[in-house]
């Protein structure tokens, strides 16, 4: 987004794995914006200016979404090299466009390999546009599930959402460009979070703890503002950001990463002014923030937010009839209604368990809070401005059938 931005100080041992052509495109955006972190491309054709691990196009094409073995075979040749490359990295970012062939097929394998090499793996995945068809969406969904399972955390950009960012006349090419840039922004924001030399540093362990095991889908947004009112503006932009559903996503967030980058003039008051509304929005969420100073941001302020959604009850994977017929082995059996009886416990065991509970207060208790339901307002119509007619505590201007609970269907 800022071509004039020159290299951002590289975080400690961060490496980027760009999978597929989408990954390569994002990498291009990163390069253009001046982010030169060590990167490896995983693609069926060579990527310019980047070390590329070539995959056999034929093998990739043969990969069936349901057949894990074929995908593994496709990557098998390059796996040792991949692991070697990942060795020594603390964090590996995997950038992939899901829904196509390469991204969906091997990104989770690459994530597993990086993890095996001892790195923390954060995935950045672009989901296809809805117009690309249900098949691709399903394929992407499956890829995402697998990537989530393999990586420590996944930041996901449904391309469909960028419709809100571009105008009607944007060409398809430009739209993909915007998507790529957004993903590049997310990568840069996450990278900055880890960047050393921050005003307020994020502890690497904290980040790991937050991401590790969450296997959750994340949303992100980036906003920039300049001028004396930048702190206020940037928050306004952020809370109105379409990718955060106008700030609603923050309210439902389980945890949020906030990265603030400003010029040398970045004051603590500014940081506070940014964080206050965000903290207020993500009440009940674990907020992790970092602030960094970069002289290229003189007079400007950039804030990146990566929000992880609350773990929703695992909805059954979307599966229509054709999916069931074509992939019978993937249909899952519904959870059994049978509830196992409580295990038999000796008094000692019970005492031990009870003791445990009291000694270690449950962490989730703090998050338990009364939800506020949206108040349903019944219009008083033509009596809106008049004095309400209240008898026995009932507002008689509200239709009787509503007060008596008559359901009209």
């Amino acid at each position: 987004m800022n071509p004039e931005t020159s290299p951002i100080p590289g975080p400690r041992n961060l490496k980027i794995l760009a999978v597929g052509s989408a990954g390569a495109a994002v990498l291009r955006h990163l390069r253009r914006a001046g982010t030169h972190w060590p990167a490896l491309a995983l693609n069926t054709e060579a990527v310019a200016d980047t070390e590329t691990l070539l995959l056999d196009a034929r093998q990739i094409r043969a990969v069936d979404a349901t057949d894990a073995a074929q995908a593994e075979a496709a990557l098998a040749a390059g796996l040792p090299r991949l692991k070697d490359w990942c060795a020594g990295a603390e964090v590996v970012f995997i950038i992939a466009g899901l829904g196509g062939k390469t991204g969906s097929a091997v990104s989770h394998l690459a994530a597993r390999a990086a993890k095996e090499a001892g790195a923390l793996v954060l995935g950045f995945a672009a989901m296809p546009f809805e117009f690309e068809g249900g098949r691709r969406l399903r394929q992407a969904q499956r890829g995402l599930e697998k990537l989530k399972a393999a990586a420590d955390g996944v930041v996901c950009l449904p391309n469909q959402k960028i419709f809100k960012l571009v105008d009607e006349n944007t060409s398809v090419l430009d739209a993909f460009g915007v998507a790529g840039e957004l993903l590049a922004d997310a990568v840069r924001g996450a990278g900055r979070l880890l960047a050393s030399g921050g005003l307020i540093e994020i502890h690497f362990d904290e980040l790991c703890e937050m991401l590790r095991g969450s296997h959750a889908e994340s949303l992100f947004a980036l906003a920039e503002a300049a001028g004396p009112e930048r702190a206020r503006e940037v928050v306004e932009k952020l809370l109105a950001h379409p990718l955060l559903d106008g700030g609603r996503a923050l309210a439902g967030a389980r945890s949020a990463l906030v990265s603030i980058v400003g010029g040398p003039g970045l004051s603590l008051a500014e940081v506070n002014r940014v964080m206050e509304p965000i903290n207020h929005q993500c009440e009940g969420a674990q907020v992790l923030m970092g602030a960094a100073v970069d002289e290229h941001f003189a007079g400007r302020l950039a804030v990146t937010v990566i929000a992880t959604r609350r773990e929703e009850s695992k909805a059954a994977p979307e599966m229509d009839l054709t999916g069931q017929l074509l992939n019978p082995q993937e249909t899952e059996r519904p959870a059994s209604r049978f509830v196992a009886p409580p295990p038999e416990m000796t008094p000692e065991k019970m005492a031990e368990l009870a003791g445990k509970r009291t000694s270690r207060p449950r962490k989730s208790a703090s998050r338990m809070k009364q939800q506020q339901l949206p108040l349903e307002i019944v219009s008083r119509g033509r009596f809106d401005k008049s004095e309400p007619t209240v008898r026995n505590g009932e507002d008689l201007d509200v239709p009787t059938y509503i007060r008596r609970g008559l359901v009209l269907n």
Partner: protein, 409 residues
């Protein structure tokens, strides 16, 4: 054409219509209705004026029509008032008879009534009527006229109807506005006026309830033993029915009003369950279907509620058992089909749809239940004028009202 003194005009500025009725009082003291004028009301909500300019215009239209029809010039009116601020209650006043011979004089009565009126009232309330009910001399109840009787202690029960001074003033100001140049002879509670038009002396004696189902309010008055026992205003009326239908059936108010008039009824009809009415748009294409069953149900619940609220109010006052004359319904609400059936069910009493049958005159006007209040206003005026010409004027509103109730009917 006529001596102006014998022309009596009743003006009711209602929520749905403004109605002026012209009566002629001939030399023999017989009242004859000679003209009616009405206009759609646009500046009134819940029987109170919200748009004086609009109300002024509507009043002018009604007055002009009444003048044309009767051929009389209208210079002063009896103004009917109602609204949520109007309420009635009973009070008792005591006066020791001080004359040497212990004979009760007219002055003693005045004093007793004055004491009865001295209620602890809020600052801005104004007594519209204070109607004498019964006297009691030395603890002996049921004395109708104690003048000339002997006794040492005179007590009187009065029914006081009061309203908010400023809110009453709003209606008076419209009538007195420079554009209309009308005088207000007196202000009368609509519920009282309606009962004057509907009830005969016998019905008052055996106990009757008059319900004026208006557009914005429902006014009611109870008579027993020949005097008014109870009165009240419920700020719920035909407008509420329309509003309920508009909300429930999701149609505009004007359409809801039309549906109410064309398909409304006060009782449920099993045959209508699930039947729909297809609405056509301006192109003649079916636009929306209205469920007639729902329409009836919504309307039924609202009307039933109105009656139930009145019934519970009367039950609280302990008056339900003295209504041997039954229930009389007037106002626009009396036009709802089967409203008598519904009222019969709620009150468990015989129900009559009101006809202003104690006055002579235009049959077309007298037969309309909507005009009952305005006709009652004329009757109120005629009784007052008869009294004025008959005996020396004692002054005060109280005397006027006393006249209407003790010697009228």
């Amino acid at each position: 054409m006529f001596d102006n003194a014998s022309i009596i005009v009743g003006l009711e500025i209602g929520t749905s219509k403004v109605c002026a009725v012209v009566g002629e009082l001939n030399a023999e003291g017989a009242l004859n209705i000679i003209g009616v004028g009405q206009a759609r009301s646009r500046g009134v909500r819940k029987a109170e004026i919200v748009d004086p300019a609009q109300a002024e215009e509507d009043v002018r239209n009604a007055i002009v029509e009444a003048e044309q029809m009767s051929g009389a010039e209208i210079s002063s009116v009896y103004l009917g008032v109602s609204g949520g601020h109007v309420r009635g209650f009973n009070n008792r006043g005591v006066h020791p008879v001080v004359s040497d011979d212990r004979e009760i004089s007219e002055e003693d009565i005045q004093d007793a009534v004055k004491n009865a009126k001295a209620v602890n009232l809020p600052m801005d309330s104004h007594i519209i009527h204070a109607v004498r009910q019964h006297f009691s001399v030395d603890g002996r109840d049921g004395v109708k006229n104690p003048v000339g009787m002997l006794g040492s202690r005179l007590e009187v029960d009065v029914h006081v109807i009061l309203g908010n001074f400023t809110r009453l003033q709003n209606a008076i100001r419209v009538v007195k506005s420079p554009a209309l140049q009308l005088e207000v002879d007196d202000v009368v509670f609509n519920g009282l006026a309606s009962s004057l038009a509907l009830l005969t002396g016998e019905q008052k004696e055996i106990g009757s309830l008059v319900i004026d189902l208006g557009g914005g309010t429902t006014d009611y008055a109870v008579y027993a033993d020949g005097v008014i026992k109870h009165s009240g205003v419920l700020s719920v009326g035909g407008d509420h029915v329309t509003q309920d239908l508009a909300v429930g059936l999701k149609v505009p108010l004007s359409r809801a009003e039309q549906l109410k008039l064309e398909h409304g009824s006060a009782v449920l009809d099993e045959n209508l369950k699930g039947r729909t009415l297809v609405q056509h748009n301006e192109l003649g294409l079916p636009a929306k279907s209205i469920n007639l069953g729902h329409l009836r149900h919504i309307m039924y619940l609202r009307l039933e509620e109105i009656f139930q609220l009145i019934e519970s109010d009367l039950a609280q006052a302990g008056l339900l058992d003295c209504l041997r004359g039954g229930v009389f319904i007037c106002g626009g609400g009396a036009r709802v089909p089967h409203i008598d059936q519904l009222a019969r069910r709620v009150f468990q009493l015989p129900v009559t749809l009101g006809r202003a049958n104690c006055i002579n005159g235009l049959k077309s006007a007298l037969d309309q239940p909507e005009f009952a209040a305005a006709i009652g206003l004329v009757r109120f005026g005629s009784l007052r004028q008869k009294r004025r010409t008959g005996t020396s004027r004692l002054g005060g509103l109280l005397e006027k009202v006393r006249t209407s109730f003790q010697f009228g009917a």
